[in-house]
Amino acid sequence: MDPRAADDVQRMQQQMLVFARELNEVIARERARRQEAEDALLMLRGSYMEMVKTLAFVVEAKDSTTRSHLDRTYHYARLLTARVGPELLQSASLHYGFLLHDVGKVGIPEAILNKPGPLTDDEWEIMRTHPLIGVQVVSAVKFLGDAVNVIRSHHERWDGKGYPEGLAGEQIHIGARIFSVVDTFDAMTSERPYKKALPVAVAMEEIGRCAGTQFDPDVAREFVQLLEERDLHSTGPTDLAAAL
């Protein structure tokens, strides 16, 4: 090789070395930036969840009859979803929906929410507006996604006799079908000013009995199985959430 060509080759080799070093630098920098972005995203998701929980708890605090209802139903709903459709838990929106299901109660007078006895027909009519009030409340919050369906439809019934829209069967969003079961179960197993808590075994039987009428039969069956597997027939309502 003539000396000039050898010189060129050496120069190119040196240039390649510089490129390789810079490439490393750039990759390291990009990696750090990606990590930063991922950390920020994680924190943002955490903040979303905290805000949603805060909003949900603020609304629950208005309703003195339903202490800890939110904690319990959120817990049951996630357990049940894990059986019915685990993939549904991957998006945060269903979690938001479970937490915010009753956010519309913010628009219901406290005299009705906290009435120490059964509601009159007129009062029920007002009470039944809470799902659509809830939809309105969160309508501007885009990140909630499917959560809106749980808020809107958690009082629908499989046989179409529910409210607010009288949807039936699979017209009702799966998140709402799931939530409806655990919501009812919790209402039955909780004490209210005007009623005692039902034993778990009785509530379970009732859920099974209403499979296919009030509830999606598959969802109801899964819930009964969930309770049976954990042998909760004899558990009292107070330690139920802890046991599940």
Binding site: R11, M12, Q14, Q15, L17, V18, F19, E22, E25, V26
Partner: protein, 132 residues
């Protein structure tokens, strides 16, 4: 950015031209390459408008110092940002570069990041006002 930043790259080595084009393309410069000083000066004297010039120093014919000097002496291009790129890292060359009025002087092997930074800064700063 309103328009793509246009850069004229002058080097007699085809591989170096391709490398520079690749690097500058990635940074979204609009790159024109020519293999010698004569063609560079022709282009600059014509209608083509450039935001900066990257000049190899050692080229057959008119070398980079000379091209830079002529750019400075032509009132139409006097304020154009010029980066000299050379294999020679000698004090006298650096001094010569300053003397002919280059804006930045990079030695080969050159650092792409440094080139991108220098060029970006120079283009953002724009053409120099004519000297007194």
């Amino acid at each position: 950015m309103a328009h793509k930043r246009r850069v004229l790259v002058v080097d007699d080595d085809e591989l170096t031209l391709q490398i520079l084009r690749t690097i500058l393309d990635l940074e979204e410069f609009d790159v024109t390459t020519v293999p010698d000083g004569e063609r560079a000066l022709q282009l600059l004297a014509g209608d083509a408008r450039f935001d900066a010039v990257v000049l190899d120093v050692m080229m057959p014919g008119i070398d980079g110092f000379e091209v830079c000097q002529r750019i400075r002496h032509d009132p139409r291009t006097a304020g154009l940002p010029v980066v000299l790129l050379t294999a020679r890292d000698l004090d006298e060359d650096r001094a010569r570069g300053e003397q002919v009025g280059c804006d930045a002087y990079l030695t080969k092997p050159f650092s792409p990041l440094q080139l991108i930074d220098e060029l970006g800064d120079l283009v953002a700063r724009g053409r120099r006002p004519p000297e007194e």
